[in-house]
């Protein structure tokens, strides 16, 4: 049986990689993917704790997290498309102006 803390450590590493992705990448879509990665790391912790506690709640919450992530991805990318239409760039720096 692999101890739960290993899974948690693994999810921590994934989360950190996602965070760095958000910071480092200049292309917003890749930043967005990094955020999805962070979300999945969190899902991993949920499932790991679900197994640790022996209850099913963790997994149900992952269920809802996925739904929220789907909705978020949909709306987020819609925003990026709308932004792209006004200013043909996906570079995070050039979208520093709070309005377009």
């Amino acid at each position: 049986m692999v101890p739960t803390s290993w899974y948690l450590a693994l999810s921590a590493v994934l989360f950190a990689i996602g965070a760095v992705g958000v910071l480092v990448r200049r292309n917003i879509i890749v930043v967005f993917m990094a955020i999805e990665l962070m979300l999945n790391a969190v899902n991993l912790t949920f499932v790991a704790f679900a197994r640790q506690l022996g209850t099913i709640d963790g997994q149900v919450i992952v269920f809802f997290v996925m739904t929220v992530a789907a909705a978020e991805a949909a709306v987020g990318l819609a925003i990026i498309i709308a932004a792209f239409r006004n200013r043909p760039t996906v570079n995070a720096d050039e979208l520093a102006v709070l309005r377009w």
Partner: protein
């Protein structure tokens, strides 16, 4: 609980091997004479015009979004379908509301013409 997936893993292995052979075969067996003309993108003979990866209408993107939303809906339906017999009427009511709301979403999209392929 691993036994369930033993078969899956093994099938993955065999399938990967078979498909790998199929895809890679011509690279190994085939002749190698790359030429500029041969490597030209095929456009019914005339030289390729415009940027290779030109942009296209946002319509497809909308379809992808709708697909996500309704895929999630389908995914919610599956577990419901399994335990429906035990849930009985309350389960039905629950699902009717769920499907009703999403049908409203579909109706909105339909009326807004997002699905109309002009």
């Amino acid at each position: 609980m691993l036994d369930q997936y033993l078969g899956v893993i093994i099938t993955f292995g065999f399938a990967a091997v078979i498909v790998g052979i199929m895809c890679g075969a011509s690279m190994i067996l085939g002749v190698h004479h790359p030429g500029p003309v041969k490597q030209q993108v095929f456009e019914c003979g005339n030289p390729p015009t415009g940027p290779a990866r030109g942009r296209f209408s946002v319509r497809f993107y909308l379809v992808a979004i709708l697909f996500i939303v309704f895929d999630v809906e389908v995914v919610f339906l599956y577990p419901w379908a399994i335990v429906f017999r035990r849930l009985g009427v309350p389960g039905l009511v629950e699902m009717v509301v769920f499907i009703g709301v999403l049908a409203a979403g579909l109706a909105y999209v339909w009326k807004k013409g997002a699905l109309a392929w002009d």
